[in-house]
């Protein structure tokens, strides 16, 4: 079981309030991702749950038990750190065994779990090596192995993939998702990368300046962002925001259109503009367009075969059914 409840939890560092009181429930077996820009408090929130930081006020419950003042080791949670945090003087085997040694698990049982974890994570050939002799991806697997053998009620991941290169990151992302499918254990995953959040999460918690902006499934956040911040943060490339006269036509202070929801044409359309940069990815093409009568550059996503170039005049038509409307405070207008 691994249901985690935060009840009016807040955190101050000295006089600075990094997390104003917030409520959040993470259900058993759920893959929850905390996402937000750097300094939004997502790692602090994870560390509060882990018990590595003390809450300033409020209550943390794990499986209905008050865990607010329980030391980290007694919470039944396992954590995977960004820097892997392996013990450099121990072999891979001893690293993985360490939490079991602390818990005084019998040696035969330790060995059984080490073998199982090593098999699952492709580490069997490396058990007698030191962390220093492993690649980044292997180190991260050891860190995950060390977490698995504890059989925790929940896994906490603190930006576990940000030290890996892009190709490896995609691979490890899949492995962690598969691990979740297999273990069905609660996982809380912190990242600043919205692609990781969208691809892995059952539930995304978008944080901004210590405040939860929205909680929901990836597609909920994509289709019905609660405010401009979430709308801009989720989705890549970023949503276009247009203010003024064009927004007023839709009865809003600001309208938002995702780049993939704009049709481009060489002849006719709602808005016209001049292409400043075109990025050809093969599968897609991104155009950055200076719109006539529009304040900001518009980003448009078109098919890979669309061949406009720098300086071309093009026409753009937003799909009417997916225009997001926001009021002056940046909140969504239903």
């Amino acid at each position: 079981m691994g249901r985690i409840t935060l009840d009016k939890v807040s955190k101050n560092f000295g006089d600075l309030q990094v997390i104003p009181p917030l409520d959040l429930t993470i259900d058993d077996g759920e893959f929850t991702v905390f996402v937000g820009p750097s300094g939004c408090g997502k790692s602090t929130l994870l560390r509060l749950i882990a018990g590595l930081e003390d809450v300033t006020s409020g209550q943390i419950r794990i499986d209905k038990q008050d865990a607010t003042h329980v030391p980290p080791a007694k919470r039944g949670l396992a954590m995977v750190f960004q820097s892997y945090a392996l013990y450099p003087h121990m072999s891979v085997r001893k690293n993985i065994a360490f939490p079991m040694k602390m818990a005084k698990v019998p040696v035969e049982e330790q060995n059984r779990r080490i073998e199982a974890a090593a098999n699952a994570l492709n580490l069997s050939d490396y058990l007698d090596r030191r962390p220093g002799q492993l690649s980044g991806g292997q180190r991260q697997r050891v860190a995950i192995g060390r977490a698995i053998v504890r059989e925790p009620s929940a896994f906490l991941f603190d930006e576990p993939l940000s030290n890996l290169d892009a190709a490896l990151r995609v691979g490890m992302r899949l492995e962690i998702s598969e691990l979740h499918e297999r273990l069905e254990t609660t996982m809380i995953y912190v990242t600043h990368d919205q692609v990781e959040a969208m691809t892995m999460a059952d539930k995304i918690v978008v944080l901004h300046a210590g405040v939860i902006e929205q909680v929901g499934s990836p597609l909920e956040l994509y289709h019905t962002p609660r405010n401009k911040f979430v709308a801009g943060f989720i989705g890549s490339p970023k949503m276009n925001f247009i203010e003024g006269e064009e927004a007023a036509k839709h009865g809003a202070h600001t309208i938002g259109i995702r780049p993939e929801h704009i049709e481009v044409s060489g002849e006719t359309g709602t808005w016209s503009g001049v292409v400043s940069v075109s990025e050809h990815l093969g599968s897609d093409t991104f155009f950055h367009v200076h719109g006539t009568g529009l304040a900001d550059t518009i980003t448009v996503r078109a098919g890979g075969e669309v061949g406009f170039r720098h300086g071309d005049r093009i026409f753009m038509t937003p799909r009417a059914d997916v225009i997001h409307k926001f009021d002056a405070e940046g909140l969504r207008i239903a």
């Binding site: 882990a50 590595l52 030391p71 980290p72 080791a73 949670l77 396992a78 954590m79 750190f81 960004q82 820097s83 945090a85 392996l86 013990y87 450099p88 003087h89 360490f98 939490p99 602390m102 818990a103 060390r146 504890r150």
Partner: protein, 276 residues
């Protein structure tokens, strides 16, 4: 881009480095050579370098005249004792400064270091009086305490720098893995800090061994270490260069040998953290 270094340039650098190295080592070499000369050859003009009648006479005279073993034993007790006592006190201090720093930690560290800038003679009088009062004058205990205090700032600084290099996340991982503070220290921190503790130990043994100001001023006969042994041969009357050299060689030999065998450890310890 890597800087291109010609082989000519490399040879020049090597020669220069050897030159500087020999220049620094020359006084020690000269002392050792002189210890094997007769008193007459020792002061001959022009000086002889290698072609003289090698003799062990000075060593036997020095050995007969004074009890080298006793001085050596005192040196070992004083250098070793002050270092071990210093480490015992410095480890918890450096520990708390590195892992639970307060707003004043940096100030305290700098203040501790600033005591090293005070001329030692400035506190000789009060310490001398305290030693008389406590009956510590010319005792090994007294010297162990004074040398420990003198070197404590350096020990704390060195250990602090080492502990600082141990990433906090590793300790947090241990905490998450269920380690108590004792287990964290025993299984994670100490093994990781052993190279640091070892080179701190080594450097302080050397510093304490070579310390002359306090050992000369606070001892007479009983507790005198090898520094006093050398000093007893630099008499104002008569010239006994060869015997003084023999005494010096005997005094520095143990630490020279220790330094030679541990130089790798020492250098890596002193440059720790400079290059990741």
């Amino acid at each position: 881009m890597a800087r291109a270094i010609t082989s000519q340039r490399k040879a020049l650098n090597t020669a220069l480095a050897w030159g500087v190295g020999l220049l620094i080592f020359f006084p020690i070499l000269w002392t050792i050579l002189t210890s094997f000369k007769t008193e007459a050859q020792a002061i001959s003009d022009p000086p002889v370098f290698l072609f003289f009648d090698w003799t062990l006479e000075n060593y036997s005279v020095v050995q007969q005249r004074s009890d080298y073993g006793r001085f050596l034993w005192n040196s070992i007790i004083i250098a070793g004792g002050s270092t071990i006592l210093g480490i015992i006190i410095a480890v918890p201090a450096a520990w708390s400064m590195a892992f639970v720093p307060s707003k004043r930690t940096k100030d305290i560290l700098l203040w501790m270091l600033s005591t090293k800038m005070l001329p030692a003679v400035g506190v000789l009088y009060p310490i001398y009086l305290i030693f008389i009062k406590l009956g510590l004058l010319d005792t090994k205990t007294g010297l162990v305490i004074v040398l420990m205090l003198i070197n404590l700032p350096i020990i704390v600084w060195m250990l602090y720098t080492y502990f600082k290099e141990i990433p906090g996340e590793i300790l947090e991982a241990a905490r998450m893995d269920g380690a108590t503070l004792r287990e964290e220290v025993l299984y994670i921190l100490t093994p990781m800090a052993i190279p640091g503790i070892a080179s701190t130990l080594l450097l302080n043994v050397i510093l304490a061994w070579n310390e002359a100001f306090w050992t000369l001023n606070l001892t007479a006969a009983k507790a005198a270490p090898l520094t006093a042994f050398i000093a007893s041969y630099s008499s104002p009357e008569g010239l006994f260069y060869a015997k003084l050299s023999a005494a010096s060689t005997m005094a520095i030999a143990p630490i020279l040998i220790l330094g030679w065998f541990s130089q790798k450890q020492l250098v890596s310890g002193l440059t720790f953290g400079a290059v990741k």
